[in-house]
Amino acid sequence: MKVEAQEPVVEFHDLTVSYHKKPVLWNIDMTLPKGALIGIIGPNGAGKSTLIKSAMGLLPLASGYVRIFDEALDDVRHRVSYVPQRESVDWDFPTSVLDVVLMGRYAKLGLLTRPRKADKEMALNCLRKVGMEAYVDRQISQLSGGQQQRVFLARALAQEADLYFMDEPFAGVDAATEAAILSIMQEMTAQGKTVIVVHHDLQSAAEFFDWIVLLNMRLVASGPIDKVFTNEMLQETYGGKLTVLAEVGELVRKRQIPSREKY
């Protein structure tokens, strides 16, 4: 099940990625549309993070290529932003919230230029958007998980990109942060920016995204949510692991498909 995007911003062409010679993504071939809030969904170890890391050039590709805005990544880097998983950095690092957000401006600064007043204003603005203006000078180790995620989002906003890749931005955040992040993402897509999110919670996925990519080492489906987010597709993505998701189990029960265990 694959729907090609009308106005593609990202194109994966026959992408295969390996870790230590063992392929973790096979022949991913799809296009993703402009201005959409896109969820990449799949079980643990499906290669969701690997997919966006390879799109950002962080991993060597075994074969295939990724084109962004119909160009190579290096030519459009300044238009693309990447938000790593929160756990990927050391939050005991001696630095302040403002300093982290200012890193989002580094790409726009030369080698020798220091962040100027305008950059600081911009960073403050981004912090205001994520509701963290009261924490500007706070040391980052004093933040909660949700606040850390907001700071990462503010840094991404400070990049003023057109395309955002976010790795599990909703993982381990409180309900207020989840709502805040979602509304910012919706605002971004309303402005024609594209937001691609790695996500693992099926329940909320149905509410959050316009476009869904179902992944389990290979591409199971990619398309508008109403076409792709179906019982059949989810079954295919999550395989026989019925215990993994209550929701899938529920759907199965409702339609009275005999479960494999009983068989």
Partner: protein, 301 residues
């Protein structure tokens, strides 16, 4: 005047090492600094055999290259052979150091280096080894100039590359996505560490230079939550421990470098216990206060 020269030389080296150490410990690479300080030994011996002097520019450059090479070897063993980082470090630097030791013993007659000097250094000779110009003018101790040049190069490097070094230290994946080469800055930093280690070699030796790399930065880390402040505190610790170390050495009539590192160790111990944010005793006190507060407030709720 001799005391002043010695303290000044030690301070300049300690500041260079400390500033680089700030980045090393936050990158969790303090032991790579250790590895490099040992691994440069064969470079020093070879350069010495070729040029015949101990603090020539070629020598520092040659050793810096070996330092970068050892960094490369460590990364290579870690990524390609999938060996743990600490194992890769252990294999690489002991091997290169052993090579250096063999070179010294084989060419013992020609090389004005012995194992003791290599390991411990001797900063007390600084005032004797003077830089004398062609027309006989005495410019002062040679090591002092080397130390000053090393510091200037390091400060310039950190000032120019601060954004990149800071960013690649905190969040390398993000740095890579905005087009900052993580490995380039890693090698540049390791090049600076190698150069500094070699320059400081005569004075403090291969073992104690590690203390200068790690000690002041570790103390500063415990005292502040700001990177810039951490670097300032590091400089301060470097100055204080060099001066106090010198007088301790005079007092006990022992090794100056050893005394400096002893002072760093004592300062670290004091910081570890009393630092306002991270200190063990302060944390205990805060916990007691908190328990007290909960006790008194409990009846109200």
């Amino acid at each position: 005047m001799d005391a002043f020269y010695i303290i000044l030389t030690a301070t300049l080296f300690a500041i260079s090492c400390g500033l680089l150490g700030c980045f090393l410990i936050l990158r969790k690479m303090a032991m790579v600094g250790d590895a490099i300080s040992h691994a440069v030994l064969p470079g020093i011996v070879i350069a010495f055999l070729l040029t015949g002097t101990r603090d020539s520019f070629e020598m520092i450059l040659g050793a810096a290259l070996i330092g970068i090479f050892s960094t490369f070897l460590i990364e290579f063993f870690h990524h390609k052979a999938r060996l743990q980082t600490d194992a890769a470090i252990g294999v690489t630097f002991t091997w290169l150091f052993a090579l250096g030791v063999i070179l010294i013993s084989v060419f013992a007659g020609q090389v004005d280096l012995d194992q003791e000097c290599v390991l411990y250094g001797e900063i007390a000779y600084v005032p004797i080894d003077l830089w004398i110009g062609d027309n006989g003018t005495i410019f002062g101790p040679r090591a002092l100039y080397v130390a000053a040049m090393t510091l200037i190069v390091n400060v310039a490097f950190i000032r120019i590359g601060f954004k990149q070094l800071h960013l690649t230290t905190f969040d390398p994946a993000f740095a890579a996505t905005i087009g900052v080469s993580v490995s380039l800055w890693n090698y540049l930093l390791m090049g600076a560490v190698s150069m500094t280690t070699v320059a400081a070699f005569d004075s403090v030796g291969a073992i104690l230079v590690v203390a200068l790399l790690v000690g002041p930065a570790a103390i500063a880390y415990l005292l502040t939550d700001r990177f810039q402040t951490m670097m300032i505190i590091t400089v301060f610790v470097a100055i204080v421990s060099s001066a106090l170390g010198y007088y301790l050495a005079v007092w006990v009539d022992g090794s100056i470098a050893g005394a400096i590192v002893t002072i760093i160790g004592i300062l670290f111990g004091i910081t570890f216990l009393f630092s306002p944010g991270h200190g063990v005793l302060m944390k205990k006190r805060l916990q007691r206060k908190e328990a007290q507060r909960l006790k008194t407030e409990a009846p109200l709720s």
